[in-house]
């Protein structure tokens, strides 16, 4: 199984590739940031604050996450001249955030809790299967078959928010960084210093909870 250490080699390679193919957006944004252009900072913050907060949230928890993000932004502004574009701007920002958060922890790293906190609509557990491993309660077809159709239901959106709020801080961050921010699993395990296998477990369980929420809504029409 690929551990985070091996994954790190892959991200070094990805970093080297980034030199050659620096995202157009970064190349365009950097000089404007260095010049202190207000609009450039608005773009930067709107794009990356969510991902930075997810990283901080996973490492220091909800109480100190906002402060860590604030400190990270200050460090970013201070270090802009030194940014060599060896990685993408996003990777650089998230690395600064993770480092700021780890410094805040001062070695009191919290344990990675893989024990699952129950979610409002459960998961896809053993009770769904027969002893031979075949489905006992197989999934039914859903009424809505596109994300737009599902999200048009206000109640479902609220329901989903509740499920997301029920996740542990680490699990919620892993899910957000993967599904909403599009980070590779290797990037997530490097940033959060969690093994790749733990990231996979956390992500899988979170996805099953989200699935169970949508399924519950599709079957009952309510939260």
């Amino acid at each position: 199984m690929l551990r985070c250490k091996q994954a790190r080699l892959l991200s070094v390679r990805a970093g080297l590739e980034a030199i050659v193919t620096m995202p157009v957006n970064d190349a365009e944004l950097l000089p404007r940031l260095r010049a202190g252009e207000q609009k450039a900072y608005r773009e930067l913050v709107a794009t990356y604050q969510g991902a930075m907060r997810a990283v901080a949230f996973a490492i220091v928890g909800s109480r100190n996450a906002d402060e860590v993000v604030q400190d990270a932004w200050l460090a970013v502004v201070r270090s802009l001249d030194g940014f060599q574009a060896r990685s993408s701007l996003k990777t650089w920002l998230l690395t600064i955030t993770a480092n700021t958060a780890k410094t805040r922890l001062k070695g009191n790293r919290r344990e990675v809790l893989l024990d699952d906190i129950p979610s409002p609509h459960g998961s896809v557990g053993d009770e769904r299967f027969r002893a031979d491993g075949h489905w006992f309660l197989a999934p039914h077809a859903w009424h809505h078959d596109s994300p737009e159709a599902l999200l048009s239901e206000d109640e479902l959106r609220e329901c989903l928010e509740k499920t997301l709020a029920s996740l542990s801080e680490l699990q919620s961050s892993v899910l957000q960084l993967r599904e909403r921010e599009g980070l590779a699993l290797e990037e997530i395990c490097n940033l959060l210093q969690v093994s790749l296998s733990n990231v996979r477990v956390l992500l899988h369980r979170a996805r099953l909870k989200v699935f169970a929420t949508l399924e519950h809504f599709e079957e009952t029409g309510q939260c």
């Binding site: 608005r42 930067l44 913050v45 896809v124 949508l214």
Partner: protein, 77 residues
């Protein structure tokens, strides 16, 4: 032979491309024969898309942070 339960257990790894060639192949074989599991994977992918498109809270305070950072940067130069 991979069971439906086994397929569900490995579904995220399948979606994320984390499986080896043999495991991926046995997932595909199972999916070719099992309508329930095909539906499950389809709904898992739909759940992912829903999360991606879930509206983000728009905070006025983000612009405020940005403006302060820009000012700080100009002061540094």
């Amino acid at each position: 032979m991979l069971s439906c339960k086994g397929l569900v257990a490995h579904s995220s790894d399948y979606i994320d491309g984390q499986l080896g060639v043999r495991q991926r192949w046995s997932m595909r074989m199972h999916l070719a024969m099992c309508v329930n599991c095909r539906r499950f994977i389809k709904q898992m992918r739909l759940s992912q898309a829903v999360l991606r498109q879930l509206p983000r809270g728009q905070h006025a305070e983000l612009d405020e942070i940005a403006d302060k950072l820009a000012e700080l940067r100009r002061q540094q130069r």
